[in-house]
């Protein structure tokens, strides 16, 4: 066990709460979306009170996810600005994945992989929201023509799968990078962890102390 003095706060309680609600919403949205996308998975609807209730809840959860995500995004917006170190990270990405190297010296609170994830989620969720609204029965769909609704359906599905791939990587990366899950659960990381994975951020935090 690390001593308290060894720990650095990485995520505030608000951030963590928000993150996990978004995560929960995503799990629901993904599974319910999957139930509606592929008949083989329709049984998933029974996890959510049956098809009709699930269908009713899906767009509401979508709105919840969108709102919380963009609020969260506004909190971490500045930390996701692209830095010169990120370019280096990206160049060495494969080596990084093979554990042949670790984060460059200038890596800030988020590394380039995390930033790429962030910047792909920002537009994807917007696309999902907009196409979702176009399809949303019975409130909004009647205002759009059938061609638009059909296009929205297709786009929504494509965006959802890109998102799934992204979130899948996110999950794996979190599991793979030991200490990350703890950071999002308890909010803290060890000084060593911070120094190793996010040296730029560590210096910043250490400097303030």
């Amino acid at each position: 066990m690390a001593n308290k003095g060894d720990l650095i706060v990485r995520h505030t309680p608000g951030e963590r709460l928000s993150h996990w609600v978004v995560a929960l919403a995503f799990v629901f949205l993904f599974l319910s979306g999957l139930a509606m996308f592929h008949p083989t998975f329709f049984w998933l609807s029974f996890l959510f009170g049956g098809g009709q209730f699930m269908r009713w809840l899906h767009p509401l959860a979508g709105v919840l996810l969108t709102v919380l995500f963009y609020q969260y995004a506004s909190w971490v917006w500045a930390d996701n600005k692209w830095l010169p170190a990120d370019t280096e990270w990206r160049r060495n990405m494969l080596a990084y994945m093979r554990l042949q190297t670790h984060s460059p010296e200038g890596t800030g609170k988020y590394n380039a992989g995390q930033k790429l994830m962030f910047w792909s989620m920002v537009p994807l969720i917007a696309v999902l929201l907009v196409t979702g609204i176009v399809m949303w029965q019975p409130y909004f769909a009647p205002y759009f023509g059938p061609s638009l609704r059909r296009a929205a359906g297709l786009l929504h599905a494509i965006a959802a799968f890109i998102m799934f791939v992204g979130i899948g990587i996110h999950w794996y990366a979190a599991y793979w990078t030991r200490g990350s899950i703890r950071a999002m659960v308890r909010g803290t990381v060890t000084r060593a962890w911070a120094k190793y994975h996010h040296p730029g951020w560590f210096r910043e935090v250490a400097g303030k102390e």
């Binding site: 592929h38 008949p39 399809m135 029965q137 019975p138 061609s147 359906g153 799968f161 899948g168 060593a192």
Partner: protein
């Protein structure tokens, strides 16, 4: 309308086929527009037979078409169009409602297993108890027919009186039509009758009279005889209806397979990576709590 059945040709959101041991005669309703006087008896009969009595008494907005649109209470609607065609006024009257496509876009788009079925006789029926209210069928329909009921979030449309047909009766609208403008029988017979009508119409000066049985949706089980067959749009019918590539792509087996394969690939890639490289740990912190 739900009926237990052994004659299911297609069932929405179902990977394998529904019970289809019993095959029945392919049926069709023939609407001969040249014999239709627009009396709306079919519309009344539809609401009476199906006990649909909560359509509100509306207002007149300047039209004979009342109510103004199809709804969960109005499954068939007489639509009136005034057109000048070759210098003479034509009052075109079309009985609008589900055409019961051979390749129904609604069924293709539907994500709820068994909410939409197509019987071997060609009727496309909604089983509302399975409907989840997503409205994809509405998007999938090339004729803009299904209507979502706000109160129960279920979608409704003409059943071609599947309940009557299953016990050997004709649909209620057919039974009621006072001028014999609506016929019901085997699809082959209906097409034969329709072709026969064209001769009379052409002799009367409707040189372009035609049968409307659009092949873009594989043909329909409601077939029209149109005196002005060269301009279906004048009757509010699409010229070349089809389910369209978007719905096709969206709801295709290929798209579904690609989606699932991607999903599985992500998981497999993660497992392989972890097996090969193990966790990404801060040196010296191995074995400590993650």
């Amino acid at each position: 309308m739900a009926l237990q059945s052994l004659d299911i040709k297609n069932r929405s959101a179902t990977t394998f086929q529904g019970p289809s041991a019993r095959s029945t005669l392919e049926v069709a309703k023939l609407i001969d527009v040249s014999r239709c006087i627009g009396c709306k008896a079919c519309q009344a009969a539809c609401s009476e037979w199906n006990d649909l009595h909560t359509e509100p008494v509306g207002v007149n907005e300047g039209f004979y078409t009342n109510p103004r649109d199809l709804s969960d209470q109005t499954w068939t609607l007489m639509r009136f169009y005034e057109e000048q065609i070759e210098g003479s006024l034509q009052w075109l009257i079309l009985k609008d409602g589900c055409l019961h496509c051979s390749e129904p876009g609604c069924l293709k788009a539907c994500p709820a297993p068994g909410a939409i079925v197509q019987y071997t006789n060609g009727i496309v029926d909604f089983h509302e108890e399975n409907c989840i209210g997503c409205g994809y069928c509405i998007s999938g329909c090339p004729f803009n027919i299904p209507r979502l009921r706000k109160e129960d979030s279920k979608v409704y449309k003409c059943t071609l009186c599947s309940d009557r047909v299953s016990v050997g009766l004709e649909p209620a609208c057919v039974k009621t039509c006072p001028t014999g403008a609506i016929h019901f029988g085997s699809k082959a017979d209906m097409l034969f009758q329709a072709e026969e009508r064209l001769g009379d119409l052409r002799e009367r000066g409707f040189a372009k009279a035609a049968v409307y049985d659009p092949q873009g949706v594989g043909g329909t089980h409601v077939v029209y005889v149109l005196p002005h067959g060269d301009r279906p749009e004048s009757y509010g019918l699409p010229r070349n209806p089809s389910v369209g590539p978007l719905v096709g792509l969206w709801r295709s087996g290929l798209a579904r397979a690609v989606g699932v394969i991607t999903m599985v690939s992500v998981a497999v890639a993660g497992i392989l990576h972890y097996m090969r490289h193990g966790p990404n740990e801060v040196p010296g912190e191995s074995g400590k709590e993650a």
